[in-house]
Symmetry: C2
Subunit: 341 residues, 2 copies
């Protein structure tokens, strides 16, 4: 006979023959309980399949056992980012382990993206939030830090230099890709950058890594070999056409993300070039389809799952008020050499 009402702490208490408070103590083991009562209570909890109500628990000013994950609205780019879900999943895994749940906000249909941030702060629906940083997210982060709301940025937080952030090592990635191309004998390396204006800090670092490698090899960075795209494959194609039309075209292209790299390859193939013999192409991010591409793409890989997990772990430190030794965490990246270079 299934009960209509869910069992409450009261039911458990009366079944075990103890007071509410004792049951509460058992649940949170927040106080001394004798061995015998402990067992009685645990037995009762099991029998009734009792679970504390999240709402009631968070009411007395405590925590909500929920963390937020904010994905700023960015037309289609982010939503189709295959690595994003893995980041979310990583954060969820970490949250789950601590008995937390994950509240996702894609800050959907509201023109004013800030609404999503405000909800988190004043709703007290979540004890903290993870924020995917993009070109359009800095306002939101500023709002969070202003309210002293605990949050961790995934990516560079442009608005708040002192904020806690977790990011892949973009600098080292740019360095490694370039070094790899240099090792292959290339000296003229074309760059397909993101948008010229409003470019994200991550891309800037990739570029700096590139320059560093070039200079270390005694070469100088040639701005005439850099063109701009907008992350899409199509922009990678047109960018490549520009590069190949140069009087002295590059023998290798480093696209700052995989999609543009794929566009570059396609564009070059259409022009009759063989990859990698006539033109080497490398990307960045290692999206799942990078290995499926034709030819498979050399790129920079970082575990998105770990990225999310690390960020979540940091957020919990923040929530618990623990001191954070390192506010900016940079995750190591891995060069994945495939057939495109």
């Amino acid at each position: 006979m299934p009960e209509k009402k869910r069992s409450t702490i009261k039911d458990v208490a009366s079944l075990a023959g103890v007071s509410l408070q004792t049951v509460s103590r058992v649940i949170n083991n927040s106080g001394p309980v004798s061995e015998t009562t402990l067992q009685k209570v645990q037995q009762a909890i099991l029998t009734l399949n009792y679970r504390p109500s999240l709402a009631a628990r968070s009411l007395p000013g405590r925590c909500s056992y929920v963390i937020g994950f904010i994905v700023p609205y960015e037309v289609d780019y982010l939503i189709t980012d295959p690595n994003l879900l893995a980041q979310i999943s990583g954060a969820d895994a970490e949250a789950h382990q601590r008995g937390y749940s994950l509240l996702l906000s894609t800050s959907g249909n509201s023109k004013n993206g800030l609404e999503a941030y405000e909800r988190f702060v004043s709703n007290q629906a979540a004890d903290g939030a993870l924020v995917i940083e993009t070109a359009s997210s800095s306002e939101g982060s500023k709002l969070l830090s202003l309210q002293e709301y605990p949050y961790v940025s995934i990516g560079q937080d442009l608005g708040n230099p002192g904020a806690c952030t977790v990011d892949r090592d973009n600098y080292d990635g740019g360095r490694q890709i370039t070094q790899h191309l240099l090792d292959r004998g290339h000296t003229r390396i074309g760059i397909i950058n993101g948008p010229a204006f409003g470019s994200v800090a991550g891309l800037q670092l990739r570029l700096e890594g590139h320059q560093q490698s070039m200079e270390q090899a005694g070469l100088s960075f040639d701005p005439s070999l850099m063109v701009y795209g907008d992350y899409t494959r199509r922009s990678g194609e047109t960018a490549t056409q520009q590069l190949l039309a140069l009087p002295d075209p590059p023998t290798a292209i480093f696209a700052l993300n995989d999609r543009m790299a794929m566009g570059a390859i396609r564009s070059a193939q259409k022009a009759g070039l063989r990859i990698p013999e006539d033109l080497a192409v490398a990307g960045f991010d290692d999206i799942p389809t990078a290995s499926d591409f034709n030819p498979p793409l050399t790129t920079i890989s970082v575990s998105s799952h770990k990225l999310g997990q690390t960020a979540a772990r940091m957020l919990f430190q923040l929530i618990d008020g623990e001191p954070i030794e390192k506010k900016q965490v940079v995750l190591p990246v891995e060069l994945v050499i495939r057939e495109s270079t």
Copy 2:
């Protein structure tokens, strides 16, 4: 001077000079309020930037203003599914519009995937849930329906034929792809199916659509032209090798998802075949990289955003206790013809 405590309904009431209940009435417009008091209260709410506490609101047995989204744990396949996030985003948009938030559960690290389901039911953390149906999710759905927990399946709910489901029109998709290949003059069409055992109902429907088209054209479905993969690109490659090794190999391949189709193309190219001249290949799902592929993939497309949105809308009907006229909703699909056929 920023207040430490968030403002409560009490603060609003005293500022507006009315009782708590009146404020509550304004918020939920659940009762008659005179024009003048209405304005006073609204003014006070604005001044204090007041937002009702979710926890307190859901405590008196009402709803939690949260819906869940359960993604069953499936090694890497689902997490890297680029369409999944769009579905989530669609559901979130719909939820957002109703003042709801979305609690995501990737049922992460718990071996026993059911834990995620139980949490939703007994925690009363969410008023209902959206469930991505996979081969491994039927147990969980059964648990939900047993507890009379409101939920909507995305995909076919194998465990509960009476459940509310939203799905793309797999049958029609299979039909359209096959018809398209027949129109191109192909009569021997190879099929790359999902796993032979534990295959999902969606795939079965795609196959039935295929058969229907074949029979309508006066052809019969040839089981010897069907091989099995496991959704991955690699399995598509080996499956294609099998098909091409046949004494009378097919001139076209219909892979039941895009990834396997990509594997098929790559495998055929390696064997020296031209796509689509020597072999036409079609997929299913229209993952973002399908158009980026080389050559771009002919496939079946459905708006994932809309899928999630429709499911959420249905869930809200369920939660509100509204009668559901159609429990199984099937979203129309679109044939996207690209260069691979």
